[in-house]
Homo-oligomer: 386 residues x 2
């Protein structure tokens, strides 16, 4: 890593480095917490987890110094990464970066702890898995950097998961909007929040592999004419899905609002929502949440269901979501029909559908995930021409 | 540890907990730094080392919470431990402790990171080995605590090192002044700075073993009549000694000042200083420093020696210091004579002598350390009456 920083610096650019923890360190710290209690307090967990990056920034600053490059580490607090108060998945509210600018002005390479910030109580917060991406992009935005390079364990964004479709190909360029849909749908390359920041502040982000020095990767940038030529850029899936249905809900104005504002208060992320056509004044409301939140959600949903007069609550957690994403959908018609036909041809039942301008998602039975992804990848002609 | 905190709390007292890192953690972190560079930057090293306590306070707060006791962790910065700017051995300048008082007022047990503070640049500093003792005593002083209990790996302060004299006995009580002499002479029970704080703010400190629940230990407190009955309370030694001699120094006013202010600028701790009687306008100046600082010191001392016109610089690092300590010396005469006679009887040459009101120290050849300690312990009747 030090070599990479020095090479960039020698290229004549000012460099700001943002680091995550060493591989496996965050998991080790979480395991430590779970050794002492099954329900670690989230404020304490954040303090615990924030140590991982403090170790790596100190070490990299030492290495750079020992190679003759002035360097200085800064924690999230020291560079003024101010977040909201939601521990373990805080959102950055503002970045001052004064000390980073000072260091750059002195010719010093700032080495910054990713993943962490500080809230207005002066308590340490963390930004969730992949939070270092967001730190990097937020700093790039604050500093008006020319580009943000993110070194990760993959060499870019692929048309789909190569574990499922071996002929999946790397995209050399992708729009922020597509990337946002890809990331939130489980592409796992960049933290969603980092792409939101990049889009908002128009920061070009290059995703590169930590393991090679090949300057390939995928550039995440503003939409251009090339991108529109392609109907679908990628097929993504997310197995971390559970579907919750409230049956026999009285269909009165304000019911859905009461339900989902109750759910939002608990910081549960609801994804798709479907409300059936009302029959005899009663309706069914279905929504999906991350499967990992089902236990946390159930007590709340049952209580809210009682509150709004639902007859019953059903949970299905053997579900997955497959999606096709592409800015080209805006200018091409018939994309949804092709998707539904492709799934039907494979005998896959569609449980829920949601669409946006550049994305169509279907919730299906989890066991069909691979089949659906392969069929869609093929149907939209995404395989690499070997 | 959680049990101990809960027991104290159940006893009806408010409790504030100060923690150090897990056993071996600080060494592990130092080793990490030395893996990447032989000369780690001290500012970076402090950030690295400060992670050890952040881990333990988060974990203990979690455990206390899971047992039903509200608890909250605080870092050095969060409790306002403000230090000077000397990295790796910073001195506490003030303690605000506002958040600790708030937590106590809410019935919350504050769990505080020892060993670390923050300087006026908002950079993390550490207080040196045993710095958590100092954090604890400084907080006890700031909070006007009734007592500061320090759990450590020994069950108190002994008349001398039991590894050298198996019949050494534990002191049930010792004065701040004696403890200060014991600690700085190598008793290694409490960090010197913590005892200085305790003495300054009259905080009674109890040294207890982490490994037993026996309420024995040693109470470090104000001098009382009992203590004066005993001539010598303890015999200590320090092998980490090196003697540096500047030969043929022109004996002019201000020479010693120039020498030692030059040395002080480099944060070298000079212990004993002896200047010979001047002969023909020339004198010899000898002083001792920690042996571990010899490499760092030599270049400096040679340069300073040249500067003040010294003919030569000699280093002897095979030296040790043995000392006898006791407030009883103030009211008993002939103590020094007994010490010198005892060493002479064993054939041990005394290279340097220094005395204070309650302490007499002799620098001797290192190979005689154990013999000297045993002889002095016997001569002053310190062995436990078995």
């Amino acid at each position: 890593m030090a070599e990479r920083v020095i090479r960039t610096r020698k290229g004549g650019d000012d460099v700001v480095v943002v680091l995550s923890a060493m591989s496996g360190e965050t998991d080790r710290l979480i395991a430590l917490a779970h050794q002492v209690t099954s329900t670690p307090d989230e404020r304490e967990l954040d303090l615990l987890l924030s140590t991982g990056e403090r170790v790596t920034i100190a070490l990299l600053a030492m290495v750079l110094q020992s190679r003759g490059y002035p360097a200085r580490s800064f924690t999230g607090r020291q560079v003024g990464i101010v977040t909201d108060k939601v521990h373990t998945k805080a959102r950055i509210e503002r970045v001052t970066a004064d000390r980073v600018r000072e260091a750059l002005a002195e010719g010093v390479i700032p080495v910054i702890a990713g993943f962490q910030g500080i809230n207005e109580n002066q308590d340490v917060t963390t930004l969730g898995r992949g939070g270092s991406d967001t730190t990097a992009v937020a700093l790039a935005a604050a500093l008006s950097a020319a580009r943000c390079d993110i070194y990760t364990d993959v060499d870019g964004v692929y048309t789909t998961d190569p574990n499922i479709v071996p002929t999946a190909s790397r995209l050399s360029k992708i729009s922020y909007e597509e990337m946002l849909e890809m990331a939130s749908l489980g592409a796992k390359v960049l933290q969603t929040r980092s792409v939101e920041f990049a889009m908002k502040y128009r920061v070009p982000v290059r995703v590169l592999s930590s393991f090679t020095d090949a300057p390939s990767g995928t550039l995440v940038t503003e939409e251009d004419r090339d991108m529109e030529q392609v109907v679908v850029s990628g097929v993504t899936y997310d197995r971390n899905q559970a579907k919750i249905t409230l049956l026999g809900v009285p269909d009165r104005p304000g019911i859905a609002a009461r339900l989902f504002s109750g759910i939002a208060k608990d910081n549960l992320m609801v994804d798709m929502i479907i409300q059936n056509i009302s029959q005899e004044g009663l309706t069914d409301i279905s929504f999906t949440i991350p499967r990992t939140d089902v236990r946390k959600a159930m007590a709340l949903v049952v209580a809210l269901g009682k509150d709004i007069g639902a007859a019953d609550v059903q949970v299905t957690d053997q579900t997955a979501k497959v999606s096709i994403v592409g800015v080209g959908m805006r200018s091409h018609s018939g994309v949804a029909a092709t998707m539904f036909e492709t799934l039907a041809r494979e005998g896959i039942n569609i449980m829920m559908i949601s669409t946006s301008e550049i994305k169509i998602s279907c919730v299906i039975e989890e066991k069909y995930t691979e089949l659906a992804v392969r069929a869609l990848h093929e149907a939209f002609g995404l395989s690499a021409r070997a």
